[in-house]
């Protein structure tokens, strides 16, 4: 039996920084707030170099992604309908009045893009006010001692799934359906039979409604009919304007 309080306590630990990261940030803050002996003249060039690397990475990644064919959400009408199917099939049958709206995910054809071999730390200088840019560049450009990479854990794929779905959810919530679509496509390529497929299905529905895809509202209504107990009901009804 899961204890709600214990679950939240474990979540707080897991979603927060590790002690090592806490200590590293505090040390960095102390260094940042301490009087500087001299303004480093190399700051600007270091920042420019960091941005250059970031731009190169983005360009490289764009080439990789553009070259790949993405999985697509298909909302299509077909004359021969079948009965409602379970959400675990990632498909939901639609209204029974002779036409059918089907939400289907094509089989992924593409291997997931390989993660970058190195993980360069992006500079925050571009995201901050100019006044803080120099300081951010200094923080980002100074090498921080990093803990050695942990060994692969059995739970890592589940964490990866949750992380990607969190990014989809975040993009949806800030009104960026195009980015949500990209991330969801990435999820579908990477996790063909993921443990969180049902959460992904809910996000797929919400995204289809946000994109105002044809038939999305009917599909959402059918989903709610098939899963009356889903805790996502209020959000689906809200996003898909089912009320």
């Amino acid at each position: 039996m899961v204890d709600p309080e214990q679950l939240l306590a474990s979540y707080r630990q897991a979603a927060g920084p590790s002690r090592a990261v806490e200590a590293r940030m505090l040390a960095s803050l102390r260094a940042e707030l301490a009087p500087l002996p001299a303004q480093p003249a190399a700051n600007a060039s270091t920042g420019a170099s960091g941005l250059g690397v970031a731009l190169k990475l983005v360009t490289l990644l764009a080439i990789v992604v553009v070259g790949a064919s993405a999985a697509k959400l298909v909302l299509s009408r077909a004359p021969d309908a079948s009965d409602a199917s379970d959400a675990s099939d990632a498909s939901v049958a639609a209204p029974s009045e002779g036409s059918r709206v089907e939400l289907a995910v094509e089989s992924p054809q593409v291997e997931p893009a390989s993660p970058s071999p190195s993980k360069p730390k992006p500079t925050s200088a571009s995201t901050l006010a100019p006044r803080e840019a120099a300081a951010a560049t200094r923080r980002s450009s100074s090498p921080r001692p990093r803990a050695p990479a942990p060994p692969e854990l059995a739970e890592a794929p589940l964490a990866d799934e949750a992380k990607l779905l969190r990014a989809v959810d975040s993009a949806l919530r800030r009104g960026a359906p195009a980015q949500a679509r990209e991330l969801l496509d990435e999820y579908q390529r990477s996790f063909v039979a993921g443990s969180l497929a049902d959460q992904a299905m809910v996000l797929e529905l919400l995204l289809a409604c946000a994109e105002e895809a044809q038939g999305a509202n009917e599909v959402a209504a059918r989903y709610l009919d098939a899963h009356p107990q889903t805790s996502a009901r209020a959000r689906i009804e809200d996003t898909c304007e089912l009320l």
């Binding site: 590790s18 899963h227 805790s231």
Partner: protein
């Protein structure tokens, strides 16, 4: 100005760094930028003279939301890279594998639940149930009446308890 001139800085940092980190994380700041964004929040705290003596947590949440918004605005071009970054922050050196697994599962389960909430419910649930803010603080922070906050909190709690109850049932997979 050194940190030594602000003896409260370390105390505030240690008491609230987890809250700031989690709020940034849930606001969509990618893992690769969490450290910089967290530090930025505390730098703002250090610079500002209007930090309240009471409700520091709520004040920090307000700053965190602004910093997260700034990060997101400048971060669009890195969105694809978020998806390709698989590494979570590294575990503690002496971390017990079972504890790590338990936390990882809790992370997944709670995040899966949060996805199902409407934005209005989620905000209140996160700040009160997860971050421990008071209803009055959240009402002030979000510009809501305390009755509205209380009402949303009750609904969120009921949904969470229902979700946890169904974790042992087969239908939990339906979110």
């Amino acid at each position: 100005m050194s940190v030594g001139d602000h003896p409260d800085f370390d105390r505030v940092y240690r008491a609230h760094v987890g809250l700031v980190w989690r709020c940034l994380r849930r606001a969509g700041v990618p893992d690769s930028m969490l450290e910089d964004a967290t530090q930025e929040v505390f730098l703002v705290h250090h610079r500002r003279s209007d930090v309240p003596t009471q409700s520091v947590a709520a004040w920090l949440v307000g700053i965190t939301r602004k910093v997260a918004s700034n990060v997101r605005r400048g971060e669009q071009r890195f969105l694809r890279r978020i998806a390709s970054q698989r590494a979570e922050p590294g575990p503690e050196q002496n971390d017990d594998p079972e504890d790590r697994l338990r936390r990882s599962q809790a992370l997944t389960l709670v995040e899966a639940f949060l996805i199902t909430l409407t934005p209005a419910l989620r905000e209140v649930f996160e700040l009160i149930e997860i971050e421990g803010l008071k209803q009055r603080e959240v009402a002030e922070l979000l510009g809501l009446s305390i009755n509205t906050v209380g009402s949303r909190l009750r609904v969120g709690r009921v949904q969470f308890e229902d979700y946890v109850r169904r974790l042992d049932a087969p239908e939990v997979a339906h979110g």
